[in-house]
Symmetry: C2
Amino acid sequence: MIEKSNIPELLSKFQDHWNPRIVGELNGQHVKLAKFKGEFVWHKHDNEDELFLVINGSFTMQFRDGDVQLSEGDFLIVPRGVEHCPVAEQEVSVMLFEPASTLNTGDAGGELTRTDLVRL
Amino acid sequence: MIEKSNIPELLSKFQDHWNPRIVGELNGQHVKLAKFKGEFVWHKHDNEDELFLVINGSFTMQFRDGDVQLSEGDFLIVPRGVEHCPVAEQEVSVMLFEPASTLNTGDAGGELTRTDLVRL
């Protein structure tokens, strides 16, 4: 039997920031949920486009040519190769849709890199 | 400059049922918004998995082995090859993630088939 998932229930299962959980997989893509707070690192993904959908709260996606403010119900697609850096003054919950190969810090690496993501 | 999209604003731009709009494209996948009301047709997609995320309202995804009720904040992934038929007593707004190749009625065809989807 195919089971549904509930976003608020999934979000209640973790509290840490910048550590996406995998909550679904289809067509070689991952559906992820993450909580952001503070500033991430500037990075790009050479081969993956990324979708960010705000579930609760708000954040700013910084690009080299300007910022985009995102609130609940907004989504943004960051094309491959485009440098970006999310920053959230307050905690924000975000759904991500991206290829299964996507590494959170892209080409930047560093201490915020998360591999072996937990599946909820 | 990369622009965001707002789901409620996009949903306000159309009123018809069973006629998905394309609201984003990434990695060969489409992000769509649709409004459902009434019963669709039983069908399957031989090569595409489909994600349904409820934005407003509720609906039932019928499978051959049982029903799944979905409300706001719920999502469901229908794997390729699995027969399904959505039904909504009241209007429901749904976000879809699926390959760009996906036809709404899959293998069933018929009068509810929509090609050349409008991009919002």
